[in-house]
Symmetry: C2
Subunit: 203 residues, 2 copies
């Protein structure tokens, strides 16, 4: 059975749980308290030298980090990843967009405000993340005005990757009301079979 080293509150970790649940693949979840340094111990760095969660243990000796690489690994040969070459590149296009143009703004703001609960202490950093986060939501909204999903006209791991931190964007003070195509898409994602929420266990 897979073992997922994770933090329940983390959107990056939630991505993996959501896909595992939708694939009906059982997994043991091991909570790693990154706030107390548990992802930087020598023991953990042997699993992932970059010291981050999620890290998925595949077998006794094999650990796979990077949330979107884990999604790809689990989704290969399933309906969550299309077969067509351009469609697969589109899935990756949006997953790289998520890690470069979305997560560093929206997830980071949420981390300071709702996980650390230190909005005042990080006021300057939060302000510096505002325009990048709004730009990412604007790009998503424009795409979703003409498309039900991000790639291949179907629900894929690109939607899972982008849903994880978008659906809790308001916890980072990014209001979603100005982005109606996003809010409609959030409902569309939530209506998929075997959907679970951020705080739910794998069924």
């Amino acid at each position: 059975m897979y073992r997922l080293y994770q933090m329940q509150d983390s959107g990056n970790c939630y991505k993996v749980r959501l896909l595992l649940n939708q694939l009906q693949i059982p997994c043991e979840c091991i909570e790693i308290d990154i706030l107390s340094g548990e992802s930087r111990t020598d023991t953990f760095l042997e699993k992932n030298s970059n010291g981050r969660v999620p890290t998925l243990q595949l077998d006794e000796q094999t650990y796979l980090p990077e949330s979107n690489a884990i999604l790809w690994y689990l989704a290969e040969e399933t309906p969550f990843l299309p077969q067509d070459k351009l469609a697969r590149a589109r899935v990756l296009q949006w997953m790289f967009f998520e890690q470069y143009s979305h997560e560093p703004f929206i997830a980071t703001s949420r981390f300071w405000i709702s996980i650390l609960q230190q909005e005042d202490n990080f006021a300057d950093q939060i302000a510096a993340k505002r325009s990048g986060g709004e730009a990412a939501l604007g790009v998503m909204n424009r795409h979703l005005q003409d498309n039900d999903y991000f790639a291949a006209n179907q629900y894929t791991i690109a939607d899972i990757a982008l849903y994880a931190y978008t659906h809790v964007a308001e916890e980072g003070n990014f209001q979603l009301a100005p982005y109606p195509a996003i809010t409609t898409w959030l409902t569309r994602v939530q209506s998929q079979s075997w959907h679970i929420g951020l705080l739910d266990p794998i069924a």
Copy 2:
């Protein structure tokens, strides 16, 4: 023929040119001056709503952005991307590492120092990028102490992705002498067939 919207100095764009050259695929390169806003015009935003280069035009109507998604698209079914499922996930692991844990520190510092030539004006931002960049180089060096390449024991697009900004890290004031396994790997990458440098045209 492919058409690459790009900026010659950009490591993200260089990745695509390097792979195209090594695949011996011809391509027309269109220079986009991001410094004067050419990637944010209405015309360009129709090609890539995220307003970034590289963007690869595949046919009359089809544009693919995100450097690492482009690498994946071009490398499918070639020796630059392995067939094994775990090996492919490792390629993605390192490409997501590159975009999240490496590029935002090392490429951004180089941009301020060597592209904009405004090291003094961006002194605070450059200082804030120091520890993240050193951490990324440390993770790479540890991996390369035991491995010739990043994934699958062979030269792949993960090496191309990480080479692009690492080989010019010193232009962002990141010295490579403390990372001898990286400097050996740089030479190993440069020795591959059909290698070209950052400022070279596609052959």
